[in-house]
């Protein structure tokens, strides 16, 4: 059996499995919906997600333990993930194949040459990991202040270790090494104990921008599936919308189209996961390489080399994706996958310069404090940033969210949307609730988003905790924000029009929206009586719209009368109104006196003790542009600093 055939089967299998998982991610129990399907498996296998979250949270969350399997296999076999499993890689390989189909041999080989720019993905990886390491760094520096014994201990151990290594001739210049160590310890003290620089550093998980697994989840779930489903209507009865999805689509399209320039462009130059695998595959027990023996220098091996690892010369093992095309192409069966290193030599590690390493490390570490200068985590927090229920407070959220957008895919009412500017640069494509874009508000009894989040940036809530029942009764329900009635736009407040849609739809019990009754004389509603009976009034010089006041909301009151004299209008014509015969006038209005037509308005008010910020009211409000009741993030449970009340 040809190994290439098996590899293609593997790629197609995992690609179809990935697409199947994306299709399945609708909330529900049917066989084609979420059920127990392990739709996060690819994200869990991704060691960059695991490593990133370990650095930011010092924990390996639940299913991310799958990444240990990937690491173990990579360390033994090499970059099998890139060549045999990664669905994004499969797409790139496919388009690269299309792109080069009509190219001549020489052009293909030239396209597959190693380019120094392939080191960029390592620099990107370093920058992303150093951005994640901020809080560990801060703790390290603070340790110098809190427990001065620690740096001294490290210095002592370092001295001993260096002496040992110097004896073994691993460290060439012992004196220089000790001086360097001493300088580092002094710097540690200076920065930590005296300058308190630990305040500068914070951790932020930004691997999601370029990590291929979250990227392809975003792209398929938020761009391709909604477009396809618009025609099929299979996954959702109403079309799904995602704010700013065009950018996600553009990035995806760009990555794919670049394969026509150089095959597997993204994999070779951009992918930080590939870079991580490149580093991990250094000790690989089995590697692709040349056998001993005559090579005819035909370079057929480089015709379809996916990784641009130059198997013809010194193969760059860290770039080899195990596509096995070189094995298949070689007429002399000189290429092999074995435990012996390539007979033509190897370049086993990535080609990084020290300068590049330092620049990317410093950039990553410095980027986070720079992004935090906007104050979005402090006084300048954005009230539009209403996060899903169960989301952690913002600093911790940004340490966990990998922008995979699974929460947006699963949300039954499509209210979870990718953030654009609400959460700053760090928060682009993280989840934010948009109640106008969805089909309803955040469902009261739904806890789907927290249960699908692979990193617990949104915690998996039980329904009891979300609703504040049983053991959570004293804590109360989880609030995502607070609704505010905009009295300048609300129909009963500003337009003298009855409407209680928000109150009707408020799902909590007792309702968080309560109504205050108010009677207002309508415009041009003070009229002179021509004559009146016990149950009707005819006006002098009136030209009303027939039936205008017959909706059940209008009342007639003598201008000089008291509230008790008000009567409900049941019929109205151009010149007269009839009042409810069950409640006739106690004293019939005399001719020539004035009466007022009044509208009964029920004006909504929000009770902040009860409102959970679910947004159903905002969604249902008939003032459909800028809604007359809007939810903003005040009073959200996840951050006590935003509390409205004691």
């Amino acid at each position: 059996m040809n190994i290439i055939t098996v590899r293609r089967i593997s790629q197609i299998f995992f690609f179809m499995l990935f697409v199947w998982f994306c299709i399945l991610s609708s909330f529900g129990e049917s066989w084609w919906q979420l059920r127990g399907w392990p739709v996060n498996w690819f994200l869990q296998l991704d060691p960059l997600v695991a490593l990133g979250t370990i650095l930011t949270t010092r924990a390996l969350y639940a299913g991310l333990a799958w990444a240990l399997l990937t690491v173990a296999l990579t360390v033994v076999l090499g970059r099998f993930f890139c060549g045999w499993l990664c669905p994004f890689g499969t797409i790139h390989q496919f388009f690269g194949w299309i792109g080069r189909r009509n190219k001549k041999f020489a052009a293909r080989v030239a396209a597959n040459q190693y380019r120094p720019a392939q080191a960029i993905k390592y620099y990107l990886l370093i920058a992303m990991l150093t951005a994640a390491v901020g809080s560990l760094l801060a703790d390290l520096l603070a340790a110098a202040r809190r427990s001065p014994a620690i740096p001294c201990l490290v210095f002592a151990i370092g001295l001993v270790a260096l002496s040992f290594l110097a004896v073994r001739k691993v460290v060439p210049n012992r004196k220089k090494a000790i001086l360097t160590l001493a300088a580092l310890i002094v710097a540690w003290f200076a920065l930590g104990a005296f300058l308190c620089t630990d305040a500068w550093f914070a951790a932020s998980l930004q691997t999601g921008w370029l990590d291929p697994i979250p990227l392809i989840h975003r792209s398929v779930n938020l761009v391709l599936l909604p477009i396809a489903d618009r025609a099929l209507g299979a996954l959702s009865t109403s079309p799904r919308f995602y704010v700013g999805a065009w950018i996600i689509g553009a990035v995806f399209l760009a990555a794919i189209l670049l394969n026509f320039v150089i095959p597997r462009f993204y994999c070779r130059f951009v992918c930080p996961l590939g870079a991580l695998f490149g580093v991990l595959s250094e000790p690989a027990l089995w590697r692709v390489g040349k056998r001993e023996g005559q090579c005819t220098n035909c370079e057929l091996c480089e015709n379809n080399c996916e990784g641009a690892c130059e198997p013809f010369e010194k193969i760059r093992t860290s770039e080899c994706l195990l596509c096995m095309n070189c094995l298949d192409a070689c007429q002399q069966t000189r290429m092999t996958y074995s435990t012996v290193r390539s007979a033509a030599g190897e370049v086993s590690g990535p080609d990084l310069s020290r300068r590049g390493f330092i620049i990317s490390a410093v950039s990553g570490v410095a980027a986070v404090p720079m992004m935090r200068l906007s104050g979005l985590l402090g006084a300048n927090w954005q009230p539009r940033l209403v996060r899903p229920p169960g989301a952690l407070n913002e600093a911790e959220f940004l340490e966990r969210c990998i922008k995979c957008d699974q929460c947006m895919r699963v949300c039954p009412t499509n209210v979870i949307q990718p953030a654009m500017a609400e959460a700053g640069l760090e928060g682009v494509w993280t989840p934010v609730l948009n109640f106008r874009a969805g089909t309803s508000g955040c469902q009261l009894n739904c806890v789907a988003c927290g249960h699908i989040c692979p990193t617990a940036a949104i915690r998996p809530l039980t329904l009891d905790e979300k609703l504040g029942r049983n053991q959570f009764a004293s804590a109360g329900p989880i609030r995502t924000g607070l609704a505010f009635v905009d009295r300048s736009r609300c129909l009963p407040w500003a337009m003298e029009k009855p409407c209680i849609v928000c109150q009707e739809n408020c799902p909590v019990s007792p309702k968080a929206i309560y109504l205050r009754e108010e009677f207002v004389t309508v415009r041009d509603g003070t009229l002179t009586v021509q004559n009146a009976t016990t149950t009707s009034v005819e006006f002098d010089g009136a030209d009303l719209t027939p039936g205008q006041f017959a909706t059940g909301d209008y009342f007639c009151k003598p201008a000089r009368g008291a509230d008790e004299d008000r009567r409900k209008i049941v019929e109205s014509s151009a010149t007269s109104v009839k009042i409810d015969s069950a409640t006739p006038w106690s004293s019939t209005p005399a001719s020539g006196t004035r009466v007022e037509i009044q509208v009964r308005l029920l004006q909504p008010n929000v009770d902040p003790k009860l409102c959970i910020g679910c947004g159903v009211c905002e969604h249902e409000c008939p003032v459909s542009g800028l809604r007359a009741i809007r939810v903003t993030a005040e009073n959200e449970t996840r951050n006590r600093k935003h509390a409205l009340l004691l």
Binding site: M1, S440, S509
Partner: protein, 338 residues
């Protein structure tokens, strides 16, 4: 290059086989995994479970004090909620269970609730989870009582002297009382409204019903047959309504197909079915273009395709009556699909 066959060693074949085995086990693992999940998360989003939820009620709480739905202020639970699966539905509603199981019921929950002001006046509230609006409408329409009065709490709702019946998205609800006093009826209405507010339906209208003209329609005569309508196995999802034409009642029906070609094919197939089962073709007056008429066992069948819709008349007394009803139907369909 071409024509070159590289020899595959045993090692290569072994590795290949191992990989394929791994792929198979992944597929198997994924398939098995999808059966295991915490129902509470999904059931949480609906008050109905085919089996009780996995979150246990605290033992200190006597079961009668809990209701499986939100209650308005004037009602209190009289007994514990009961839950039924399609298999044991029979235990509660006896022979009627067949009606629900054939329409695809997933489960049913019911509970007795009493007026706080008068515990001797109580109702029983049944919620059937029919999985989608059409199936809910099926059981709703097939049981519509003769003395149905309009009820405006939902699109498909009616009331009788002592009960309310309505569809709320995927649920079919019956609220039945033996003591139909005014406070009890009012409480049932507010209970039903509260249920609808708490479980807002994702589907509220059935598109097909808009294709039925309202003129001459017998009120409350809509029916939905999910399968095997009129004995024809290809007739699925058939909606029908009764019309009074020329003094007699005829049943007009329709169903929406995937495409115009499919509709034409189904229409022809039904005509064929009628003819093979003892019917004779009739020639119509052309009132409805391209309609097929047949006379079968003393009554007239008419079927035609208009765009994606297959429609017609079933068991009419005479051909003119059938054609008249069909013409009305055709006009409405053409208007609705413009």
């Amino acid at each position: 290059m071409k024509g070159h066959v590289r020899p595959h060693g045993l090692a290569e074949t072994c590795v290949g086989s191992i990989v394929l085995l791994v792929l198979l086990s992944v597929a198997a693992g994924v398939f098995v995994k999808q059966f295991h999940y915490d129902r509470a998360i999904f059931v949480a989003a609906s008050p109905i479970a085919a089996a009780p939820t996995s979150t246990p009620t605290p033992p200190s709480q006597p079961p009668a004090s809990a209701a499986f739905i939100d209650l308005p202020a004037d009602l209190t639970p009289l007994s514990a909620p009961e839950t039924f699966t399609p298999d044991n539905l029979y235990d509660k509603i006896d022979g009627k269970a067949e009606l629900y199981t054939s329409a695809g019921v997933l489960g049913m929950r019911c509970q007795r609730l009493a007026l706080k002001s008068d515990p001797n006046t109580w109702l029983e509230f049944f919620v059937y989870d029919m999985d989608n609006l059409r199936q809910a409408f099926a059981v709703y329409s097939m049981q519509q009582r003769a003395d149905a009065q309009p009820l405006d709490i939902a699109t498909y709702a009616y009331q009788t002297k002592n009960a309310l019946f309505f569809c709320c998205g995927r649920y079919y609800i019956e609220a039945v009382t033996a003591m139909p006093t005014d406070p009890m009826i009012a409480a049932m209405v507010s209970l039903s409204k509260l249920f609808i507010a708490k479980n807002p339906p994702t589907e509220t209208r059935i598109a097909e019903l808009d294709f039925f003209p309202s003129a001459h329609q017998v009120p409350n005569s809509y029916m939905f047959q999910p399968e095997n309508a009129f004995g024809f196995d290809k007739f699925k999802n058939i909606f029908s309504a009764q019309y009074t034409v020329d003094g007699s009642n005829v049943m007009a029906f329709l169903t929406i197909q995937r495409s115009a070609d499919a509709a034409a094919a189904l229409s022809a197939a039904y005509q064929q079915f009628l003819l093979t089962n003892g019917g004779h073709a009739l020639s119509g007056t052309g009132k409805v273009p391209a309609a097929n008429l047949a006379e079968l066992m003393g009554s007239v069948e008419l079927v035609f395709a208009r765009g994606n819709v297959v429609a017609g008349v079933h068991a009419a007394a005479s051909a003119p009556a059938a054609e008249q009803a069909a013409a009305l139907l055709d006009a409405k369909i053409s208007e609705a699909t413009k």
